[in-house]
């Protein structure tokens, strides 16, 4: 039985530098859990969903909460940057609206004050709002270990339910999102039971438009498969053509066929399948502002 007041016993490690942190990750491997904002890890500890001997808390490593943007490198989000920080960032709001909207709807104001964007990606929940948004925007996760850094494309990052492309000796240090062109646009939409809630279906899209014509597109859905997923069939339908109502309803039908949702306490597979298409259609409209 879980205990909502008393945490299980573990040793709390508080590295002062990233190199200390990766040393610890190397030493303890799967015996350790990494904690950034803690909004997921603490709950999992309480519920005995993870039983680490060590918790590596990144909080004391300085200067990890950066959010930077440049035309050349795009957006970089440090491991300790919170959802609140991202929501406050005007550049993100303007250039990466899908990610901004996902971060803005994450949890509740209290959760957003503590939760990190990187943490939301690493949790890799199928309903993780930033996972869905980032999958649509593209980009990579930067992982560090004692043997150096490597970048994993977001397209390869989510492997299966709760499984990600991160080795036990690695710590995620930042997210990189590609620079956006002027004609780029994106949006994120989700359906929940209540305002402060986990998504039961979410959708994100990023588009490069030329007038009403779609030059390039990435589309992702959340909570309809073991991980957030891209809907490549829908992307193919959209790419290089003019977006019309007819096309959107065809895309909606395709999306509904492509997703593989389940029944759970939050919704049903049938419902999720049905509204996936609706949400896909609406998120494209929202991105195109029509």
């Amino acid at each position: 039985m879980s205990n909502s007041r008393i945490l299980p016993e573990f040793e709390l490690l508080a590295p002062k530098t990233m190199s200390e942190a990766v040393d610890m990750a190397a030493r303890y491997g799967d015996r350790a859990t990494v904690l950034a904002g803690g909004t997921d890890v603490i709950i999992m500890l309480e519920k005995n969903a993870v039983k680490p001997e060590y918790v590596i808390a990144l909080g004391e490593i300085p200067d990890l909460d950066y959010i930077t943007y440049s035309k050349a490198d795009g957006l970089t989000i440090g491991a300790l940057a919170t959802a609140y920080q991202l929501v406050q960032d005007k550049k993100v709001k303007k250039k990466y609206p899908a990610l901004w909207q996902a971060a803005a709807s994450l949890g509740s104001p209290q959760i957003r004050n503590a939760a990190t964007i990187v943490g939301n990606i690493l949790r890799a929940s199928p309903s993780g709002d930033c996972c869905c948004a980032m999958l649509a925007l593209g980009g990579s996760v930067v992982l560090e270990s004692t043997s150096g850094r490597r970048e994993v494309s977001i397209d390869d990052f989510f492997i299966d339910y709760g499984k990600i492309e991160r080795r036990e000796d690695e710590i995620a240090v930042e997210l990189k999102l590609p620079p956006v062109e002027d004609a780029s646009t994106s949006a994120f939409l989700r359906m929940t039971r209540m305002t402060f809630d986990l998504s039961k279906v979410s959708a994100a899209v990023s588009l490069q438009m030329s007038g009403k014509k779609c030059k390039a597109v990435r589309m992702a859905m959340g909570a309809v498969a073991p991980t957030a997923i891209r809907i490549k069939k829908a992307e193919t339908m959209l790419e290089g053509v003019t977006i019309t109502e007819k096309l959107l309803s065809d895309v909606a039908a395709t999306v509904s066929r492509q997703v593989k949702p389940i029944d759970d306490v939050r919704s049903t597979a049938d419902y999720r399948r049905e509204v996936s298409g609706v949400l896909a259609k609406r998120v494209i409209k929202a991105a195109c502002n029509v």
Binding site: M1, R5, M194, D197, D270
Partner: protein, 793 residues
């Protein structure tokens, strides 16, 4: 100018400061010297199992463990959590089939979270750790979740006391044909009467298992002290009745049981009767002289304290072409959960509130209550009325729609009113503010304008407006005993200590009772103080349930104040050597002679002399009249003044996703007289919050093993502040003061929960032309219904 100076005033609640600062000490905040911690070891993995073996050997090794208690270490007496049997004549208790089927530690688990044994340790953490190390061997038993499974001939039996797993129904000896209702004037039964109807509408409604989710988890401290007294600190709603039950369970006279009511962090019926008081007391008795604290986790609270009843409610209603209500019949198949507890109580009230609402020519309702492996249902705000409202209000609108009749006009014409029989036979309405409630609710939502505006809608988002009305109760008489005691003791400075066991669940009851006492005495509110919450001090009171507190305790307060005032007049007359009829109260506690205002005495003088009584050294005569003044009234209210309410709702339905958004709610309540208006408004807003949850989002879900899938806030979804309608109007209708209620007041504790249920259901019907028969009305259900219907209207 109001005729009143204290009641009706918007003063801050007396407990506002301690609540806002967080300094209020709930049971969970209590710390005592040497206090130990108790942990109840529950069965989490099975909903139905026999306990084969309990092995404490590893648990005992945990540092800090003081005692491990199994079934043999505590009383094995069976009990029932409820107070029902105390409140009805013994013969009724037998007729209704009350049973005691629960133990402190149970050898057979009948629902997930059932208590098997317990740990006492020096710290909460040690108790937790040891509880995890108790090895319990179970023999799993077949899990029964539905009524159909429960009633099967070969189904496993829950208790030999209830053959066939029928926990309760409406006994034939009391309810002919197991139904509660009335025959038509022409002698026809409700079943026969449907033949006279031009239109019959019927449906089966699923009504959900809503959880109270009061903010304060259950917590207790108990101490079996050195004088052999069993003390229990608890936030129960019913301290005096729980004191009685604890005395009975542990075979102690009431002189040896002290119940102290700690501040209540929300009740909503959840703390009606006993929860873990027996466990806390049993643990305390195992370690005499040392206090033991038990504090539930939210997850425990969810699976192990009583919920609202759920099940399938079939309703059938017959009408004449002109709308005349001919017959209404209900059949409620209810899921009891693992234990008897409230038995037929809430389902009977479903029938009763059906009884109290409309002027059917004939009406009848039955209920069968089947044991199953869910958490037992008990009391939850509304007590049976939400089920009635969800079914009947929707069928009324369906019939009105088919007959082309205005649903508001129909309700105004056919709702019961003054002189008609209320929810209980023999109790007639003496006041009704329903027409004004309808008028106000309708006006504030802009009914006529919106109705026109939404007549021909196209597009994805469809709006609609709907109405629901209701009647409830003020106290439970004559179904149950109503008895309150108030003692007023006059202090030497002419202030009054009121001693009454008044439960304030956050309802403002302490404030309102204090206001009524001050008003009745005619003195400022600072001159009265309410001492409650300690069974050593307070006389008998039922406690808080059935929306009774202001209505019942208020009446007792008025009677006691009248007695104290009479005593003061008597002393004044004696002092002034006048006749009683020659003196009267004047300003500032003066009592004056009616025909010579120079003859006067102040109550302060009378009060002071009553206590500091001396003989005049010059004359040798006693100054004033000695003896502290105490007034007492023991009140048995023989009525229940049901209040009415009308609620209008405006919703927007997304027909592609099935999502329902409540845009506006307008609830007008027939309060009679609002004693503390901010508290009444708070009740109406809070009731709406839970009513909206009932109709739109709340239900406890179980997997096929009977294990709860949503015993936390992540997946049990209540409305949050940001989910409430942007426009939420509450109107206190005071145009129909009640002749029996104190100062004309009727209740408001439970009733606001019902209006949103009927009105939102009907607004959805108005928006899309489809009625949803299963609550909560989730987007999944709405979309499925739209598909089944082949689209919207």
């Amino acid at each position: 100018m109001s005729e009143y100076s204290v009641i009706g005033q918007r003063i801050p609640k007396l407990d506002a400061r301690e609540k806002v600062t967080g300094r209020c000490k709930y049971a969970g905040d209590m710390r005592m010297e040497g206090m130990l911690y108790g942990k109840l070891v529950r069965c989490w993995d099975y909903a139905h199992a026999e306990v084969v073996k309990i092995d404490f050997s590893e648990a005992r090794k945990v540092p800090g463990v003081v005692k491990c208690l199994g079934p043999k270490d505590v009383t094995r007496k069976n009990y029932n959590t409820t107070i029902m049997k105390l409140l009805v004549p013994a013969v009724f208790s037998d007729v209704f089939g009350e049973i005691a089927d629960l133990n402190i530690f149970n050898a057979r688990v009948k629902h997930q979270g059932d208590v098997v044994c317990g740990i006492i340790a020096k710290t909460e953490k040690a108790a937790e750790r040891a509880a995890e190390k108790v090895k319990i061997e179970y023999k799993p038993l077949p899990v029964i979740m539905t009524a159909e499974e429960s009633k099967k001939k070969n189904a496993i039996q829950f208790t030999p006391l209830k053959p066939g797993n029928l926990a309760a129904n409406f006994p034939d000896s009391f309810f002919p044909n197991n139904e509660y209702g009335w025959n038509a004037e022409d002698g026809k039964t409700v079943h026969q009467k449907f033949k006279d109807a031009d239109l019959v509408v019927e449906d089966t409604f699923y009504v959900p298992r809503q959880k109270q989710v009061q903010m304060e988890n259950h917590a207790y401290v108990a101490l079996y002290d050195d004088r052999g007294r069993l003390n229990c600190w608890t936030s129960t709603q019913m301290p005096k009745l729980v004191q009685n039950l604890i005395g009975e369970l542990f075979e102690l006279p009431l002189t040896r049981v002290r119940l102290v009511q700690t501040p209540i962090g929300g009740g909503f019926g959840c703390r009606l009767g006993m929860i873990a008081e027996p466990h806390a007391c049993a643990m305390a008795m195992a370690v005499p002289g040392i206090p033991v604290k038990i504090e539930y986790l939210r997850e425990e609270d969810w699976v192990a304290s009583e919920s609202r009843a759920s099940g399938h409610f079939y309703v059938k209603a017959g009408f004449k072409k002109d709308g005349t209500p001919v017959a209404c019949y209900g059949d409620y198949q209810v899921l009891k959960g693992g234990y008897y507890t409230h038995g037929s109580g809430p389902p009977f009230c479903t029938a009763a509130f059906m009884h109290g609402m409309y002027k059917w020519q004939a009406m009848g309702c039955k209920a069968d209550i089947w044991f199953n492996n869910m958490v037992p249902f008990g009391a939850y705000r509304g007590y049976g009325n939400p089920e009635n409202t969800f079914g009947v209000e929707q069928l009324v609108d369906r019939a009105c729609n088919k007959l082309g009749i205005d649903p508001i006009g129909w309700r105004k014409k056919w709702a019961k009113g003054i002189g008609d029989e209320s929810w209980l036979k023999g109790v007639n309405f003496v006041s009704s503010g329903l027409d004004d409630c309808v008028k106000e609710a309708k006006k504030k939502i802009g009914w006529d304008k919106k109705k026109k505006q939404y007549a021909n809608q196209k597009g994805v988002k469809r709006r609609g407006v709907g109405i629901g009305i209701m009647q409830h109760t003020s106290g439970a008489w004559p179904m149950l005993l109503e008895h309150s005691n108030v003692i007023m003791r006059l202090n030497e400075d002419c202030t009054v200590e009121i001693m009454a066991s008044v439960s304030d669940l956050g309802t403002g009851a302490h404030t309102a009772v204090t206001q009524m006492a001050a008003e009745a005495l005619g003195w400022p509110i600072d001159d009265v103080h309410l001492k409650c919450c300690d069974s050593d001090v307070n006389g008998f009171d039922i406690g808080a349930h059935a929306s009774r507190t202001i209505y019942c305790v208020g009446r007792a307060v008025m009677q006691t104040a009248a007695d104290l005032k009479k005593q003061l007049l008597e002393r004044a007359a004696q002092n002034l050597q006048l006749k009683l009829e020659d003196v009267e109260f004047a300003e500032d506690k003066e009592i004056v002679c009616t025909w010579d205002s120079s003859k006067r005495i102040n109550c302060r003088t009378i009060a002071e002399q009553s206590i500091y009584s001396f003989d005049d050294p010059a004359t040798g005569k006693t100054i004033g009249i000695p003896g502290q003044m105490v007034a007492h009234y023991s009140d048995f209210v023989k009525h229940c003044s049901p209040p009415f309410a009308a609620c209008c709702a405006e919703v927007e339905v997304d027909i592609e996703t099935g999502e329902v958004k409540v845009l506006c709610l307008s609830n007008a309540h027939d309060i009679g007289k609002a004693i503390h208006p901010p508290s009444v408004e708070g009740q109406l807003e809070g009731g709406a919050h839970q009513g909206l949850g009932y109709i739109l989002s709340e239900d406890i879900y179980y997997d096929d093993k009977g294990l709860c899938l949503n015993n936390d806030f992540t997946d049990y979804k209540m409305f949050g502040a940001s989910d409430m309608p942007a426009e939420n109007y509450v109107t206190l209708v005071e145009s129909a003061p009640d002749d029996i209620g104190p100062f004309g007041a009727k209740s408001c504790g439970e009733s606001a929960l019902m209006g949103p249920i009927g009105s939102v259901a009907n607004a959805i019907y108005d928006a899309i032309g489809i009625q949803i028969t299963d609550a909560p009305v989730t987007p999944e259900r709405v979309l499925a219904a739209i598909k089944k219907n082949g689209g919207v209207k």
